[in-house]
């Protein structure tokens, strides 16, 4: 029976928000559950668990990934960043400031995933040059509250500030 037990755990080690972590992960547990349940990273939000809503989006080896569509065991050896890590490193501080100033969030449930998707887009600020391009890039992240308009504004203003070499523009406006 043991080999059929769905909860049989596998040892994994990976870099999580800059720290090396280890865990024993049941084979069927997805990465989102692993991050939330084993590491307390509750900023990873689960909205649909079938890859549509985008709330659980994280960075794996620098790319935006749905953590509900990846198994925990697949993280072995990878570099994983969640909204908590991106916050602490300061990497998306300007984006978070722009969201705050523009009220580009209401209930906040989609927000971590939205920020991660936007962070990847903003790695090339020129790619976020038009509202249409921004809307296309975040089209996999569902927001029921804002109507998206403010989110597009916040990402556009961050992209513009980065292009002009003023990454603190959002914070200045916030303060």
């Amino acid at each position: 029976m043991a080999s059929e037990c769905p909860d049989r755990a596998h040892a994994v080690a990976f870099t999580l928000n800059g720290e090396t972590v280890r865990a024993h992960v049941p084979a069927r547990m997805h990465l989102g559950d692993l991050l939330r349940q084993s590491f307390g990273l509750t900023g990873v939000h689960l909205g649909c668990e079938h890859g549509v809503c985008g709330a659980c989006t994280i960075l794996v080896d620098g790319r935006a990934v749905r953590s509900c569509l990846m198994l925990g065991v697949q993280a072995d050896g990878a570099t994983v960043e969640t909204v908590e890590g991106l916050t602490e490193s300061g990497r998306i501080r300007d984006l978070q400031d722009a969201f705050h100033v523009r009220n580009a969030l209401q209930c906040g449930y989609c927000t971590p995933g939205m920020l991660v998707t936007a962070a990847e887009l903003l790695d090339d600020a020129d790619a976020a040059a038009s509202r249409e391009a921004i809307r296309a890039a975040i089209a996999g992240n569902y927001c029921r509250c804002t109507g998206y308009h403010a989110i597009v504004d916040a990402i556009a203003s961050t992209a513009e500030a980065r292009r002009q070499g003023r990454p603190n523009a959002g914070r200045e406006a916030a303060e």
Binding site: P6, G43, H45, E49, T87, Q106, C107, R144
Partner: protein, 794 residues
């Protein structure tokens, strides 16, 4: 606008935050992933519950064997409906003021019979949700399928079986309103237009699913419930009633809530079962709906078929409206708000912006074997608005008149208030004319019409759609209280001044992301004179806040905000009385500004609040004799002069229809609305925009599909379409301000407006685009298939 004790209006106070686009203080937490939603709450010895749900729309449970499930790894308990009923009593969703409304007793877990696909009837509690789900598969159950009542059009036929035999038939509620002489008005009309409108079922799709964690601590006799919910005190009251607990034995905490929109203000069987299981098992139990469960068991809304006709004079005057609304609500009227409210609102609101005097409406609410429907954002509004605005457009087109001009001609004039609407609703002050004028300028209506005509020549089919509407907000006890529901319409705020000169404000209205805590902080800062960064707001905890209604029907700002304003003024009065005694000054000559007691005339600082706090809390021995500081003030508020604060607005949509594929591209959307005093434009505008997109979802995408046997066909976000950023337009928002005189701050609600008007604006725009083809759509959602059918292409 009333003066405050300082002799200034709140807008003029030196440190007024009201009306300013201040970012929300609590948003930082959410932006850093530090929100605390129910599933983030960590407690020891937690049991996870999963529910066995009916695969049939209607069936008798013949046999249920849980022995194998009980033996599965990690299982703590397997509980049937009959077992749970020993702890949790059933409920019936009726209200006294909806005369004739009928429903049947509903149990937390169905006992002998299941009545919709997704109804829970057995629960497994295990050490993990995965183990609980594993055990569900080991439960042996035998059903005897019963005929399912699916189609609301035939639900009342004598041949259709009654879902609840004791009710005799499937008619839950009927309301008929007949005002003026409708038949004569139609007889004398120059033009009568008629249409049948169909509104698909849709649902809220909150991104955070419904979630509840109930923790029974026998040692102190306390049931603590963490709940993703809008009305904590209502839940406390209902848990007490059905679990036979004293009020003080139940604490409901609603910390961060990941979207609600009316979905999270109802009593759900699985949530009641979770609380009952915590009592039974004497340990914490958590339920978090997965997305399939959400689609099956969150309340649905908007399942209506309306046939309506409108009479016009040759000049374009609306003479009369006659409508028949049929709606299906599932097998039970939902407790405690009932499922009759939506149809009732449709009757109250349809044609509400217009001054015609002849109106007849019939609404019939029928039971069916589908998920229960109940109040969802803008209850009844999008249906009422679509019916009237669709007919207005149809009439304008037949008369060869401009649709905006017809609306300008027919709306109740801005100088006619106060007055009553044709359905009998009391209207204090609306601004349809001003809103239409603003919209016309804002969207460059004439320029857009010219562009449309130009492009039409080139085979590009664009349409402009308008929708005027009224919105019901700031409800008094007339909404539920008079019907016998223990749903509070009053709200309260308690404000405490602390030694450093900051304040803590606890409020009974709740935060779901709309910015309640933000506007309360703005109001409290303004009213007390304390800087906003020294205001901390607490909400969503029955043990820490005054008693109140929470969030529903757009009442946070208008009712909760006024309570906060009054409490803040009272606290400032108390502060000035004590400061006057210390400073040997007339309290009337003093004011609190920016955290200090100042001379009201000159603004010269007399004493920082921190110094006052130090003296009062740590050296009260030095206070003059007879001075007893009360640095806590509580005030409650409910509107008394009007049962509701009606608001108004108008929306416009500009769309392009691909007449070969049927696809609709949204190009731009505008909204002008009047919510009275705008406390924070940043928050109001995003509320409106979010509401508009929700309305667009209903108009174009969202549909809970059932087959003829009552099987739900789409239970995932992959096949239930929701609006995503890629297909949504930019949305321009502007305001007209008619402050309500019912309160000092003058705020009305703004939460429903976007959803109320958007579907009609979009559908009217599609029909405007299709006009050269003499094609019309009247069935929502308007999918490409519906457009192609209208064009006769399929």
């Amino acid at each position: 606008m009333s003066a405050d004790p300082g002799g200034l209006t709140f807008l003029d106070r030196p440190n007024s935050y009201i009306g300013r686009s201040v970012p929300r203080p609590n948003a930082r937490r959410l932006l850093e992933g530090r929100g605390v939603y129910v599933d983030d709450v960590a407690v020891a010895r937690l049991g996870h519950v999963a529910f066995l749900r009916s695969p049939h729309a209607h069936a008798r449970i013949v046999a249920l064997d849980t022995a194998d499930a009980k033996a599965m790894p990690g299982v703590i308990a397997v509980v049937t409906g009959a077992e749970l009923a020993e702890v949790c009593t059933p409920w019936v969703g009726v209200l006294g003021h909806f005369k004739g409304l009928r429903s049947a007793p509903q149990h937390a877990l169905a006992i002998d019979r299941v009545t919709w696909v997704g109804e829970p009837f057995c629960a497994v509690v295990a050490h993990s949700r995965a183990e609980a789900e594993d055990a569900l598969a080991a439960i042996m159950v035998e059903f005897d399928p019963l005929p399912a009542v699916v189609d609301m059009e035939t639900a009342l036929d004598p041949a259709t079986p009654a879902i609840h035999a004791e009710l005799g038939d499937n008619l839950a509620f009927e309301r008929v309103l007949d005002v003026g002489d409708v038949d004569a008005a139609f007889r004398d009309a120059a033009l009568v237009v008629e249409e049948t409108f169909q509104f698909g079922r849709h649902t809220g799709v909150c991104l955070e699913p419904r979630a509840i964690l109930a923790d029974w601590a026998a040692a102190d006799g306390m049931l603590t419930v963490h709940h993703s919910f809008q009305a904590p005190h209502m839940m406390q009251d209902i848990l007490c009633k059905h679990l036979s607990l004293a009020e003080g034995a139940v604490r409901v905490i609603c910390k961060d809530v990941g979207g609600s929109f009316g979905i999270k203000v109802h009593i759900y069987p699985d949530e009641m079962a979770t609380c009952a299981l915590a009592l039974m098992l004497k340990r914490p139990v958590k339920f978090v709906a997965d997305r399939l469960e959400s689609f099956q068991s969150d309340i649905h809304a908007r399942d209506h078929r309306v046939t309506a006709r409108m009479a016009f004079s040759a000049e374009g005057d609306i003479l009369a409206l006659d409508m028949d609304d049929l709606t299906g609500i599932g097998p039970y009227s939902v407790y405690p708000r009932t499922s009759a409210v939506e149809a009732n609102q449709v009757v109250n609101l349809t044609g509400g912006p217009y001054r015609h005097q002849h109106y007849r409406a019939r609404a019939r609410v029928v039971l069916q074997n589908k998920a229960p429907t109940c109040q969802y954002r803008a209850v009844g509004h999008p249906i009422a608005t679509m019916v009237a605005e669709g007919l207005v457009d149809l009439g304008a087109a037949r008369l060869g008149l401009d649709p905006l001009a017809v609306r300008e001609r027919n709306v109740i004039p801005d100088d006619a208030y106060p007055c009553a609407g044709v359905s009998g609703i009391k209207l204090e002050k609306l601004s349809h004319q001003a809103a239409l004028a603003k919209l016309k300028a804002m969207m460059d209506y004439d320029g857009l019409r010219a562009e449309q005509a130009n492009l039409r020549q080139r085979g590009i089919h664009r349409g402009i759609g308008l929708a005027a509407f009224i919105e019901i907000t700031n409800p008094s006890a007339a909404f539920y209280g008079v019907g016998g529901a223990r749903i509070s319409s009053q709200d309260g705020c308690t404000i405490r001044l602390d030694p450093q000169g900051g304040v803590v404000a606890s409020v009974s209205v709740t935060e779901q992301g709309q910015g309640t805590e933000g506007i309360i902080a703005q109001i409290v800062a303004t009213a007390t004179g304390v800087p906003m960064d020294k205001v901390r707001v607490i909400s969503g905890d029955t043990q820490a806040t005054p008693y109140g209604g929470g969030t529903w029907a757009s009442r946070g700002a208008g009712i909760g905000g006024e309570a906060a304003w009054q409490a803040g003024k009272a606290l400032r009065g108390n502060v000035l009385a004590v400061a006057g005694a210390i400073l040997q000054a007339d309290p009337g000559s003093l004011d609190v500004r920016d955290g200090a007691v100042v001379d009201a005339g000159t603004g010269t600082e007399r004493m920082p609040l921190a110094e006052l706090g130090r003296i009062v809390y740590f050296r009260p021995d030095t206070l003059p004799p007879g001075v007893q500081p009360e640095f806590v003030a509580t005030r409650h508020y409910v509107p008394k002069d009007y049962p509701f604060a009606f608001t108004n607005g108008v929306q416009a949509s500009y769309v392009e229809v691909d007449t070969e594929t049927g696809f609709v591209r949204l190009l731009k959307h505008w909204c002008v609305e009047d919510c009275g005093t705008v406390l924070n434009p940043l928050l109001v505008d995003e509320q409106i925009r979010g509401g508009i997109v929700q309305g667009i979802g209903g108009a174009l995408f969202e549909h809970c599909l059932y087959d003829s046997e009552g099987q739900l066909l789409n239970g995932s976000m992959a096949d239930y379409l929701v609006p995503m950023a890629g297909e949504m337009p930019d949305i321009a928002v502007a305001h007209v301000v008619s402050a309500t005189a019912s309160s000092e701050i003058g705020a009305k609600g703004a939460g429903e407006a976007g959803t109320a008007g958007a579907p009609a604006a979009v559908v009217n725009a599609i029909n405007d685009a299709l006009r050269p083809f003499e094609a019309r759509v009247s069935r929502q959602p308007v999918t490409p298939e519906v457009v192609l059918e209208a064009l006769g292409l399929i």
